[in-house]
Amino acid sequence: MDTEALEKLVMGLEAQCRKREQADRAAVDVPVSALEPLMRKLRNEDPLSFDLLLDHTAIDHIHEGLFEMVYLLYSTRHGHHLMVTCEIPRMDSIAPTLSDLWPIAHWQEREVFDLFGIGYDGHPDLRRLFLEDGWKGYPLRKGYTDPDMLEPA
């Protein structure tokens, strides 16, 4: 399915869905309250059937005070890609977990928690993945500094 048809189909599923500017594939943006129902429909409904969550990451917009969560989906049945983004506030950031929809989301959400500090509501085992257990701070946030860094990033 090509990009425009896909976007139109996805935006028809959920009322608060918007097209995301600045993307190299079909991309939509949802508010966080609509994220989980939309993802469930994206996985289950037939002309979409996104069965692979390729990647999940976050973008730190420190000046707007937001984290933008990015989900990259792929369908092995139809071969189309989709990017779903969702903005959550930077203070007390909590997002719904998708680990019961796609099992890989378990570790991907642990990675985002490890590096950004975003909590996941309903995650079975939310703890650090790459960094050591006693690490203080979340390195991929924009304001992070470390005494070992020679220059603040």
Binding site: D148, L150, P152
Partner: protein, 231 residues
């Protein structure tokens, strides 16, 4: 072997002619150690492909240095080739492996990540800036990654250091013969004077004059056709 080498200098020194014997024994022992360095393959990143894998291949052959026996266990290795960046998590394990190696043990840091943290030196939150924060390094091989030939130069430097800088009288103490010699006819004061002159001379530059003096500036004048007179 270890107990013999520990006791031998104390046993041989008092005997007349014993020092000469120890020097000859040193020569044999250092020759044999330098020609059969068994690397501990400690490749963490891209340098491993050049330093451990490409050098083991037939084109640039590590076997001609006697070092193709790369062991994965530190108990049987005597040269730790650090090929790749060391992160803080890995630094603990690397220290553990270093302490498990039997003496005499040598360390070679290859690639800029192992020397100083490499391109990640300024901003990284997880990289250790240089393997020499974790273990004492004997030879540094610069490059990103160093060519296998550069690695062999480092290996030969290490061999030279073993042959000329080690003795069983003082185990664990190494001289570094490559560091001490200036080229013939040059002294440190010469170098200082040259550096001072360079700093004074290069302090200011006249840009117009420098631009006019370039070789290609004169060639440009020859290349641009002169405007003809009747246009």
């Amino acid at each position: 072997m270890g107990i013999v080498l520990d006791r031998l200098p104390g046993f041989l020194e008092p005997i007349p002619g014993g020092s000469v014997l120890i020097t000859s024994i040193d020569a044999i022992i250092n020759w044999s150690r330098s020609n059969s360095l068994w690397p501990l393959a400690f490749g963490t990143k891209c340098c491993a492909i050049e330093m451990l894998m490409a050098t083991g291949a037939p084109h640039q052959d590590l076997a001609r240095f006697g070092a193709e026996v790369a062991r994965q266990t530190p108990r049987q290795a005597d040269l730790m080739v650090i090929a790749g960046a060391i992160v803080k998590k890995m630094a603990m394990r690397m220290r553990l492996l270093y302490e498990q190696m039997a003496e005499p043990r040598y360390v070679m840091a290859t690639g800029s990540c192992a020397i100083s943290g490499g391109p990640f030196m300024y901003h990284s939150y997880s990289i250790v800036r240089g393997a020499d924060e974790v273990v004492p390094v004997d030879v540094y091989v610069p490059g990103c990654p160093p060519r296998p030939e550069a690695f062999f130069y480092g290996l030969m430097t290490l061999q030279k250091m073993i042959r000329q800088g080690e003795t069983i009288r003082k185990p664990g103490i190494r001289k570094k013969p490559v560091l001490a010699a200036l080229p013939q006819g040059i002294t440190i004061d010469d170098l200082h004077a040259q550096q001072q002159e360079m700093l004074e001379h290069d302090n200011m530059v006249d840009v117009e004059q420098a631009a006019a003096q370039k070789i290609w500036a004169t060639r440009l004048d020859q290349w641009i056709p002169k405007p003809s007179k009747n246009s």
